[in-house]
Subunit: 187 residues, 2 copies
């Protein structure tokens, strides 16, 4: 278990809007809290928040500082332990190089996608890969999801979370929670 | 699968605050959206939001009406399909009687709890119970969780979601997502 090197990146660009256009989405505070708490629960070492916008990066820093070193740290130490896993990155290449430094090996990128694709890998298959000691960065898209080009460029596409009804519109908070539990629970 | 009769109730009273005191918590809009979308994905027929406060019940009604019959319905029909599963209840006895009417049988109450208890039942065990055709209402607590008395009075207590680190402070949105996936995925 100590060999598992899974990292999370929450992507705010390039993602698509309702019309399918590539946009930069806004930071949502609750995404940071929920996914940081999830990361802490499952032993994920870093949760990267990726945005090219300077003011949005500042917002993430202010929010995390409040909980990690500010008034929030003594008010809620459990929240501090979660939010200190957050790192802001203006560019995905920064995420890759931080993970490379942290894990001592070049990571592979795994994306999540709400649409069915023939080249997608399943949860048991990726769970098996995680045991090979290689670092993986699991990308989650905000807004209406990661851009098609981003998905095509990834090393692996993970199967969508199918519930049982064919309806497939979970929040990124719910999808991340379910996916991380499927990958890391009972290892 | 068609026999499974699982309902969700999100409880705002009686829950505890950080100091362990019994309180009524405020409605959080994002809880309603995330858990409604989760419910729709996994075929849950009703998502009950339980609050004794009249103005808070009104807030839930306004929010759901916006998406179910108001401007939101045409803007985002997928959201409508999720939020129309929401029912507001001022009292848990209303939830029980609505489920009894809906399912034609008296439901049992299953609570979630972040603390370890000797009488808790595991996920495979509850998954098995779900196949017996009886209706179950799964209760989630807001704030710092359901009151001790509420938990003691339930028919079953479900095991906490253990990640892998001992840290156990997921948001109710994450916990509900993981628990529902564990119970209903791959049935």
């Amino acid at each position: 278990l100590s060999e598992i090197k899974l990292f999370i990146a929450l992507i705010h660009y390039p993602v698509i809007n309702k019309a399918g256009e590539v946009i930069t989405s806004a930071i949502t505070g609750i995404d940071l809290h929920d996914i940081a708490r999830l990361s802490k629960t499952y032993g994920i070492k870093r949760f990267f928040v990726v945005t090219p916008l300077k003011d949005q990066a500042e917002l993430v820093k202010r929010l995390t500082e409040h909980w990690v070193t500010g008034a929030g740290a003594s008010y809620n130490p459990d929240r501090k332990k979660a939010l200190e896993l957050i790192r802001v990155a203006k560019d995905y290449s920064n995420v890759v190089s931080e993970v490379r430094k942290f894990a001592g090996m070049t990571p592979e990128t795994v994306v999540t996608c709400a649409n069915k694709r023939n080249d997608a890998i399943g949860y048991p298959e990726f769970k098996q890969k995680l045991k090979n000691g290689r670092p993986y960065i699991l990308n989650f898209g905000t807004a209406w999801g990661l851009s098609g080009e981003w998905i095509d460029n990834a090393d692996y596409v993970l199967e969508p979370v199918y519930g049982i009804t064919g309806y497939n519109h979970l929040s990124v908070r719910s999808a991340a929670s379910i996916i991380i539990d499927r990958l890391l629970h009972d290892n």
